[in-house]
């Protein structure tokens, strides 16, 4: 019998998804890098040099010769971009911390809930994740507007005398990010907290810890894998967030996702937006690798 054929069929399990991801996920990044080294042009596609397969190897080498780092130089010289990167990182960092602060008590409460109630609570946390991101962000516009529902409520109770300006500020962005990414933080936290052996904290208390110090010395350190996974799940996409700053943020809010979008759609400067994306990617490579590591470790432990 031909023993080679089953081996290849066997390998197709790997080859098909691998090839798909190579072509549609990895190679596009290479193209981004390559175009970030080109010059903008009024043409279609709007960049130069354009590589044509017909030119063959010599054309390819010629093509590489024309590469320039002008776009990167331009990005570093223009304070707009540097500020956008820095403020994206700051906003993402602060929102991640806020999300953790809000998500932890929720996850902790869920893990301590009666076992019969837990599946329902879990489903309720997951449910918003299935509804559109755009819709969830949109819902906040009506709430945060100067004449919006929040201000109406606060005014009617008499807590404030004139409307708060929240929409189109960074506060609105924080609210938007915390709200949209909360399930991403709650889920990994819950899964580490739920697996935790309750007798550990009991043992700590038996040995003289107060409930609060038992929490900080036992529960929290043991939940760190969940904290790390949750923070990365929030931080990484938040850095490049576009919808939230676009809909909730103001014109003065600089976030790199929005800058990239504008550069691409309004200015039609593909090489510069590619360079913006390339730098963003380089910033995020390290956290992404951390995430991948944390995730595969969790997967292995799950076995």
């Amino acid at each position: 019998m031909n023993r080679l054929l089953p081996a290849i069929v066997n390998r197709l399990v790997i080859i098909i998804p691998y090839a798909w991801l190579l072509v549609f996920f990895l190679i596009p990044f290479v193209i981004v890098l390559r175009i970030s080294l080109s010059e903008a042009a009024i043409a279609m596609p709007p960049y130069l040099p354009v590589f044509a397969w017909a030119d063959g190897l010599s054309g390819f080498i010629d093509n590489i010769r024309q590469f320039s780092f002008d776009n990167y130089v331009w990005l570093t010289e223009d304070a707009l971009y540097t500020n956008a990167y820095l403020s994206s990182l700051t906003i993402a960092l602060i929102s991640t911390a806020l999300t953790l602060l809000i998500a932890y008590p929720i996850a902790y409460g869920m893990a301590k809930a009666p076992a019969t109630l837990r599946p329902t609570l879990l489903m309720l946390v997951i449910l918003p994740f299935w509804t559109s991101f755009l819709i969830r962000v949109y819902a906040w516009i009506a709430i945060l507007k100067p004449e919006g529902l929040l201000n109406q409520l606060l005014l009617s109770v008499g807590l404030i005398s004139e409307p708060l300006i929240i929409l189109n500020t960074n506060t609105a962005i924080y609210i938007g990010i915390v709200y949209s990414y909360l399930p991403f933080m709650v889920l990994p936290l819950y899964s580490t907290l739920e697996k935790m052996d309750h007798s550990l904290t009991e043992a700590a208390q038996d040995l003289g810890c107060t409930p609060i110090s038992a929490f900080w010395r036992i529960t929290f350190p043991l939940s760190l894998p969940g904290v790390v996974a949750g923070c990365l799940l929030v931080f990484i996409p938040a850095v490049g967030e576009f919808v939230i700053p676009d809909l909730l943020g103001g014109s003065e809010t600089l976030m790199i996702g929005k800058t990239l979008w504008n550069e691409f759609n309004a200015n039609r400067d593909w090489p510069v937006s590619s360079a913006v994306a390339a730098i963003l990617l380089m910033i995020l490579v390290v956290p992404i690798m951390f995430f991948q590591n944390a995730q595969s470790r969790l997967d292995r432990e799950g076995r």
């Binding site: 190579l22 909360l182 919808v243």
Partner: protein, 272 residues
Amino acid sequence: MNRWSRFNIASIVIGFAFLYLPIVLLVVFSFNASKLVTVWAGFSTQWYGQLFRNQALMDAAWVTVRVGLLSATVATVLGTLAALAMTRYQRFHGRVLFSGMIYAPLVMPEVITGLSMLLLFVAIGFDRGFWTLTIAHITFTMCFVAVVIQSRLASFDRSIEEAALDLGATPTATFFQVTLPVIAPAVFSGWVLAFTLSLDDLVISSFTSGPGATTLPMKIYSQVRLGVTPEINAACTILIGIVATGVLITSIVSRRQQIQRERDERAAFAAG
């Protein structure tokens, strides 16, 4: 000690209120008679009627559903293969890169994914439209599918596959008669997840779609930029309604099955 304290209950109640209140308000104001979405002026379903007369919106919805069905199905096949590759082959060339390509799209900012895919389509001269949109959706949703199925496969009892081989089933027969039926619930929820992700996506779609392939989120987005209107609230409510019913039904069914199963197990155990 392991009691559910007041603090625990309060954090859950407040947390869930925070999660659900905005959505509830959005739904409520879709039935507002006034054109303002912040002042209640009585109940009305006029915006829903207007919605269904909005041909552009209906066209977009149809595109969205078609892309969703097609991309979710292909993504489920690819994602299942990827999950099998990840769990069944501990060593192969480029495994690290492969798992990187599975996990990275889960957190990759959508602007990067969208832009890079657009540039690929332009570079190979692929006209943007329905098909580029579908390919882009397959690519980012298949990774979510892979992760869902992978976690099911991780707890899969391999000895039932060995039993099938031992009883004379070829590896292919074993996969289709034993493995696939057993992981089917995970495959199904992977499909539902892929479908809703595709239904909801705005950023990647905006980059990769072309003329004639405007999706519902793109349409909603362009209208939201012009201002908040009850009509959009109505559109959002319908979307939420579809997704929520789907998710609720599947989770209630699976919960029922699980309860029934636990009851059976107890009964069998008691019977000895």
